[in-house]
Amino acid sequence: MADAGSVHPVPVVAGALSALLAGTGQLYAGQRKRGIAYLATEAAFVLALFTVLRGPLRGLITLMPTGRFVDSRHILIVGILAGFVVLAYACFHVANIADAVRTASRVQAVRRPGAIVQSASTIRRQAGVLGGANLAPYLYIAPSLVSAFFIIIVPLVFGISLAFTNYNLYHCPPAGRFDWVGLANFVKLLKPGSTWRGQLDMVLAWNVTYAALGTVLAFAAGMGLALALQTHGLRFRRVFRMILMLPWAVPATVSIMVFLGLFNTSFGPINVLLRSLGHRGVPWFQDRFWARTSVLMTHVWISTPFNMSIVSAALQSIPEEVYEAARVDGASRWQVFSKMTFPLLMSVVSPIALLTLAGNFNNFGIIYLLTGGGPAVAGSKGAGATDILMTWVYNLGFQQLQWSTASALAVLVFIFVVVFSMINFRLSGVLSQLKQEE
């Protein structure tokens, strides 16, 4: 027999050996080729760690300019890439330990007295390449994974990292360089009583109001119209529906800029009309209340068709018998709606309603293009009356070059939205469905 390892390998020992040095557990179990392959990979990684990866990893820790990279942003990105290589290797190492345990127990099982004698090649075949993993799915997802890695994951990790640096106007590459500052940005933003905290509270309050009101109003409008379109014997249903879908069909950027003209205080038709009625016109973008109102009006105009479609689809999923049963029992139309239609509807659409709520929390486009966050608030350090967190973050970054503060805020927004969405997914069962599929 070609295998030279222990005759009765103990899985735990194999695992421990491989944990110390990849491949040794497999060698101990007598799987020579497999062991050498793991060992060689580990050797290559250790070699890389002291050569190619060394500079980037040190750069990640110190952010100090090295020979090849001077710009702090470049140092950080290269460092993050090296960090991912280490992470990938850590995963490989864990897989190697699991493989050693698995290999050892297989060998042990077939060599037990009385077991059917199997050749080493059978054991190898059973174990398969890389511990039985099939490579095909990874080939299918590789293009997506690679693109998403460079275009989504690395930039996001970079963005999160900036929250822990002092990247601002005074530490701005390529001329300057930035450093790690730990949690300083978060402390600055969250410390009670500070100017930043005051701003954050003001912006957050409006942000929550905007998301909640925007979602509820658009949903109510969408539901009302969906119910109206469902009315028995309604004529021109298709025409009504097509017209009501138009705000969804027109690209939002175009609609928002059209509303910019519509609300314009000097030439906008709303104010022209009001003036012709003897009113002196509404200061749409100059007054806090009216600016917020204009944002919400635009939001409802744009988002209603989406809600209408969702409710229409949900209404069609409610079986007709439910209504008939209620009617036979002598329920009034209001009773049917409040006791039957509405609860059934909400059970179907509440996951998407909550998801839109989370989306509206970061609904950047309308406010950025319509009011730009304005009007300015007296005594504020940049946040305007209609600024939500994201538009504030955007201005902090692009206009004031306060990238570190902006990133810290964005991280806070992210945590908020993820927690909210996770609760929502748990409630709606998306995650358990994924688990069931496996």
């Binding site: 409008a221 800029m257 293009l369 994924l434 496996e438």
Partner: protein, 289 residues
Amino acid sequence: MSIVATQRRRLGTRGRAVEMIFVYLVLALACAIVLYPLLWVIACSFRVSSGLISSSLIPSRPTIANYRRILTDPNVNFARWFFNTIKVSALSSAGALAITTPSAYAFSRMRFAGRRLVLISFMISQMFPSFMAIVALYTLLGWIGLIDSHLGLILLYTGGAIPFSIWLLKGYFDSVPRSMEESAMIDGATKFQAFTKVLLPLARPILYVVGLINFIGPYAEYVLAQSVITSGSRWTVAMGMRSLTMSSQFATDWPVFSATSVLTAIPIVIVFLSAEKYIVSGLTQGAVK
């Protein structure tokens, strides 16, 4: 038939007439609110540029001068913007579709280590404010020399479309029964052939939907476009329109802006309304099951 029942029925028909009138009123009002901004901007696009804009929907002296100007004036190079936009959107959409379709197949039909992790990571990455990525994307694009290029912008749109497209495609693939692929494979087809020859033709509606959504998304996108593209000759329509609204001549240029709005919106409105059934069901399928 008892008198009470007849009475109730008569009351019912009267109540029903009132209800119908109410429904028509609500729908008419909603249609008016929807149509007014759109008709107003169409009316403006046929108006003389004078700085005096009326709120009426019928221009007193209709003119096509604004359309002529945006198609000929080199300062408002709409034809160029439009061509750039179509190019960027079409290539981004095609790229996203090519990359994500095989992946969604793997996520729907195969079980492998890391599957759930990747799907959930994709979902979580969507919750991250995309703004956070801009600095890094800008730096990365600068490194490979793709700042101020359409290719750079296309890469960003394609990459950004991946998570959402995969979820949408996977959801649809899940709803297609596997039996047809299985019988094809019994007849000797490989897994890849079962995917391209059996599943993809069945999934044609969702392929259109994902293609369209990824076309419409970049079509009027502004924030990423303006952080990547700088040269006026490479502007997209959204950037061109934004430059008009930022101009000090905003009021005077409003009719010109209106003309660009109309020309920008028309193709998308036509595409959207003609494929509405598919787009709406594609987007709401996960929501209403």
